[in-house]
């Protein structure tokens, strides 16, 4: 499950936000009659087609796995957490339908009409993401239902969907999706620029991904900071694991890095009082430690949670720095920085944003352990009683490794073909159709 989610989440991000970036390119192209931007939009939509298809597949895997791996969870809470999934289904439908129209409508639909068929994809991507996050945040802050004799007797869908944690998890994830997509696109073109392809095509491709992602980064840092403070209240044990708060006290130090083993933090930088300051804007703030619950109810591998949290925050500031650098250069000279270091930073921004997101996901999921539904159901009670879990898990991992490898190689194949200038995407909408004379029978 974790593997599937970890893999699906990348595709989900691209599924949520890539359409918006493609639309941005198409908008630019149509508005300014910019052929380069239109070419980018067409090519990206082809990559989007592959990613959305793989995303649909992994999404199906997830819904099967809900039952195959977590029958206990579904049996007890299916009636509650199914509702946001149902709402997600509506948006999934719209996304799939309009993606088909958008992808295969390039040749037959006129400029703006085609653009408008893409808008529902972007909108339903956002609402779909919110619905899925509603489920995850509900698992962190369950509510909106009444239990009598161990049976759920009534459900308030509104409270389930907009549970307490949803308010910060939803914007955090949607912004993350946009950052991952934007920086990933930018990273691809920055790598091209580093290899000497400094033409307008590559610069524009970089900018169309980089600018929206960089603009959103400060907002993301703000939302993330709010979320962390909320978690200190809502899920103090998770927060304690994130920040190595062993005992409830005031004047709690902040650890930067470091590995917690047997009551000691090794190789970490200790900043006295900072954690209290961050939580309550005063070093006198009392922060709850993980000692409030017995050992069995604490998350395992706290060092992993803490390091993932630190990596996520660190990378966010790195990305912020890249954005500020570009903004500075633009303000001074009306152009992107020309230094090699900037493009290196741009090239790694895609990977960094993915790593940051995966780290965040580890923090929220591992940090909730041993609970699957916070304080209500443990993970072991939710899991299947069928044997062969290890076998099926290894099978899934192999399957995903293959799927991931093939996806990447197909995308690379696409990009190689584009670079060779093959003509299929040169079949401009409403332009004269060019036949691929050199292509053999497919």
């Amino acid at each position: 499950m974790a593997t599937t989610l970890g893999f699906h989440i990348i595709l989900a991000c691209l599924g949520i936000a890539l359409p918006s970036i493609v639309l941005l390119a198409e908008f630019t192209g149509l508005r300014r009659r910019d052929q380069t931007a239109l070419l980018l939009a067409r090519r990206w939509s082809q990559a989007m087609g592959v990613l959305v298809a793989v995303g649909a597949v992994t999404g199906t895997v997830l819904s099967f796995e809900m039952g195959l791996l977590w029958p206990g969870l579904m049996r007890q809470y299916g009636a509650v957490l199914g509702l946001p999934f149902g709402i997600e289904g509506v948006f999934f439908f719209l996304e799939a339908i309009f993606t088909a129209i958008y992808l295969y409508g390039w040749r037959r639909l006129a400029g703006w009409a085609h653009f408008w068929t893409g808008v529902p994809i972007a909108v339903s991507g956002i609402f779909g993401a919110m619905s899925v996050i509603a489920v995850n945040s509900w698992m962190n802050q369950p509510g909106g239902f009444t239990v009598r004799d161990g049976q759920i007797v009534s459900v308030n869908p509104w409270q389930v969907y907009f549970n307490h944690a949803a308010l910060y998890e939803m914007p955090h994830m949607v912004l993350a999706a946009y950052m991952v997509s934007g920086f990933t696109v930018a990273g691809v073109y920055a790598a091209g620029i580093l290899r000497g392809r400094r033409d307008r095509y590559h610069r524009l491709g970089f900018a169309l991904g980089f600018v929206p992602a960089a603009v959103l980064t400060p907002f993301q840092i703000f939302v993330g900071d709010t979320a962390a403070r909320a978690i200190a209240q809502d899920q103090p044990v998770k927060f304690a694991a994130m920040e190595y708060v062993t005992h409830t006290s005031t004047d709690v130090p902040e650890w930067v890095g470091g590995v917690y083993v047997n009551g000691h933090v090794y190789a970490g930088l200790r900043i006295p009082g900072l954690d209290s300051l961050l939580v309550g804007f005063s070093t006198g703030t009392k922060v709850t430690g993980w000692d409030i619950v017995p050992g069995a109810y604490r998350p395992p591998v706290v060092w992993l949670i803490h390091l993932c949290f630190d990596v996520m925050v660190g990378l966010a500031f790195l990305l912020l720095l890249a954005g500020l650098w570009a903004a500075w250069a633009w303000w001074r000279r009306r152009r992107l920085p020309s230094g090699r270091l900037f493009w290196l930073l741009g090239a790694v921004s895609g990977l960094s944003s993915i790593v940051a997101m995966e780290c965040g996901w580890v923090v929220t999921e591992v940090g909730r352990q041993p609970w699957v539904v916070y304080r209500l159901q443990t993970t072991s009670a939710a899991a299947t009683s069928n044997g062969g879990v290890i076998a099926s898990l290894s099978l899934i991992i192999i399957m995903y490794a293959v799927l991931g490898a093939v996806t990447i190689s197909i995308l690379r194949m696409l990009s190689r073909r584009w670079r060779r200038g093959e003509v299929e995407e040169a079949d401009v909408p409403y332009g004269p159709q060019q036949r691929a004379a050199n292509r053999t029978a497919s």
């Binding site: 087609g49 029958p71 639909l109």
Partner: protein, 382 residues
Amino acid sequence: MIAAAVGAILLASVTLYAVFGGADFGGGLWDLLAGGDQRGRAPRRLIDDTITPVWEANHVWLVFDLVIFWTAFPHAFAAVMTTAALPLWLALGGVVLRGAGFAFRKEARQLSLERAFGASFAFSSLITPFFMGTVIGAIATGQVPAEATHASLRAWTSTTALLIGFLFVSACGYLAAVYLADEAARCGNRGLETYFTRRAQAAGVVAGALSLATLAELHSSNPLLYDRLTGRAVALVILAGVCGLGVVIALTAGLTTGRRWRGAIRIVAALGVAAVVWGWGVAQYPVLLPGTPVTLTNAGAPHSTLAALVVLFVIVVVLVGPAFVLLFSLQGRRALLLPAAGGGAPPPAQPPRRPPAALRAAALGLAVGVAIIRRRRSAGRR
């Protein structure tokens, strides 16, 4: 009452998956049986062009079915997922290979790669409906206990379950061939029309025979269900038979006289398959897992969840329905083509006649619809 409504919704979604998604699986079956690279090129091309733009949207019905199932009947869902874990894993593997194979095949230009992806697409189109059929078989024969704790091999390998598995495969093939024959006729390709008509006839006969065999087998494996199928659900069983026979006869007549029933024949074929699904549902009502006390009303979801699901389904009908109509009408006009339709494909028949303004209005209308419906849903919640 409301539980019955949600049961009907689940059955309706399953039906939609069967007639749309099933046909896509059937396309894979004919792809598998289309022969070598040269001989199979024309039918594969038609299958590809027909399925590519729509398979993903059709596939969402599966996800939607699962979501309704686990939300409305969580106890039954957990029991089925535990008991029939193995065939479900296999079907899932099929879904993955199929989707990925299909997605990648389009982009792979090397023949060997294309062949590998194509094979994975075609083969998994065969195994997925088969294993899904065996799961339905396990439920219908009462092999899923209410308190399932472990997977069972016996549950889904009974003769009835295996027959239903084969029935699913043949029904998918039948639907696909009927649709594809119609599609070929629409493109004016007589050769392919005959090709798929013959296959539709064959698959129709096989599916009919398998249905009868399943019915006969149910007589011993689940007498109660058999009695109901020949009792209160008999009208649907007869409807299914009439539709199947009607399609096969119409296809034969079409081949000899050249007269065609465009579109209508697709609807009759889909109606036949839908009648089978509903016949099963009506026969089983109100029991969810035969042989257990689990019924539609006591499968674990409170009243408010069921009410919310009814609202949700109304939203799906209002919001997704028109979108599907738009997709299928564009597809029907052949307005959705692969970006690279070169390499000897027939050139598009006519220039686009649809005024772009109409489409823009439709898209805008839907975007506005999203906003309105969201508000309506929030009202429905309170």
